[in-house]
Symmetry: C2
Subunit: 261 residues, 2 copies
């Protein structure tokens, strides 16, 4: 087994394209798209795109409207998704912990997972019952070097691996509080490792704070990140510490699910 | 666009394999499987299987347990599935009609769709509140020539296409009531076309009846089949006619959703 092996190129480019097409069609703004639009936006050769769509259509992973000539996500994905949801029992339990965290902190709480191309994706969210709250879209992804999620994820990777990723992805300046100096960035990761959680105070989005703690799988590798995000204007050092404590406890509870598996 | 074109071979074999792997892992008995098991059961070359699994893993369409070395459906499928569910508004409305049908007939009601390889798949089900009832698994598929679903689907295809499919798939004898003579089979399809519904009385499963009616898309092609299935011992000609009437009406209501789209 060489599953952990790093490869620069995908060993199955058509499969990767198919997944990119599905991910693309899963965005609200791309709900219905023509072949030409998909090929253009994903920078895929039109005839490859057509061949892949044909197979996805055959198996109802996409559907096709003859009148508008648009593709959209297909019904068989609902079947696969609901089965995946049944099989991923851990996610059900994790969501319960996330809900409790949202109730305790009265902030939006999310679970974030790494996917390909050094990106993180929102896999679950729980929002508090508050008139004004931060919201995110499940399925949205962003570079692994972004926000408190990314800092937290990188902090708990082996440093060599984290350095390679940062070199590849780069650190983007989102606000004037973003840390963009690589050495400063790695110093901040060391602090995160020591205290067991990451804080971003307007480093990614002006007016927004994030607090993240790592969830480990049963082999001890960082598997996902649990976070609470909210309005920077609503917190002070004391509340940040309170939330950090709760986020850490929740991350530990979710880690415990994996160690039971 | 040649999307309607028939091709014997898939234009994207790796994508087809990837879908087969996901479908395989979506069955309860295959929930957790090793690379060797997947390659063996799907008759795929082990190294191709490995390459495809690697990409599916990268994008979390599958997950991998390092300890057991088993693969299972991944969390990103949940994201794609829930988005597909949001986008396929018709299915939500269709399910509502299916629920009403189950309440009226007090029988198990299903929606069946064609997928690749001339198969039909259960895409939705509603069960009545009864102590003894027939149940099916969403996602399970079967040859398009089976049961009342298949007869109904084939009856509303252009006859030339239906004949080609029957030639390719064959008609399997499931019980001593199954129609296996091709000409007799096509005569029964003519009756179905005239009356607007198909009945199978123990033709597929001993002790079970099925009544099916076609749902058409906005171009007038048969898009899915709505059916009610139950215990043959619980019905007589009168109840069969009553159910047939309700199934037809439900199919018409679901067809109307598409004509509004």
């Amino acid at each position: 087994m060489v599953l952990e092996e790093k490869e620069n190129k995908s060993g199955a480019p058509a499969v990767e394209m198919a997944i990119k097409i599905l991910t693309y069609l899963s965005r609200y703004r791309n709900k219905n798209r023509t072949l030409a639009e998909i090929a253009r936006d994903l920078n895929i050769n039109k005839s490859s795109c057509h061949r892949i769509l044909k197979v996805l259509l055959d198996y109802r992973l996409v559907s096709y409207d003859k009148n508008t000539r648009q593709f959209s996500l297909g019904s068989f994905l609902i079947v696969l998704g609901s089965r995946a949801s049944e099989f991923n029992d851990y996610l059900k339990i994790a969501k319960q912990h996330l809900k409790e965290l949202a109730e305790t902190t009265k902030q939006t709480c999310v679970l974030v997972e790494p996917i390909a191309n050094n990106r993180l994706v929102y896999i679950a969210k729980e929002e508090p019952e508050a008139a004004v709250r931060i919201t995110v879209s499940i399925g949205q992804s962003f570079p692994v070097t972004s926000a408190s999620f990314g800092k937290c994820y990188l902090a708990f990777l082996p440093e060599k691996e984290a350095r390679e990723i940062v070199k590849e992805v780069g650190i983007k300046q989102f606000t004037d509080k973003s840390i963009t100096n690589v050495e400063e960035f790695f110093q901040s990761l060391e602090v995160i490792r020591k205290q067991g959680y990451a804080v971003s105070f307007e480093e990614h989005t002006p007016g927004v704070f994030g607090i993240s703690a790592p969830v480990f799988d049963n082999s001890g590798s960082v598997r996902m990140v649990v976070s609470c995000i909210g309005l920077a204007s609503s917190v002070n050092e004391e509340t940040i510490n309170f939330y950090a404590d709760k986020v850490k406890t929740t991350a530990q509870k979710i880690t415990a699910i994996f160690s039971d598996m």
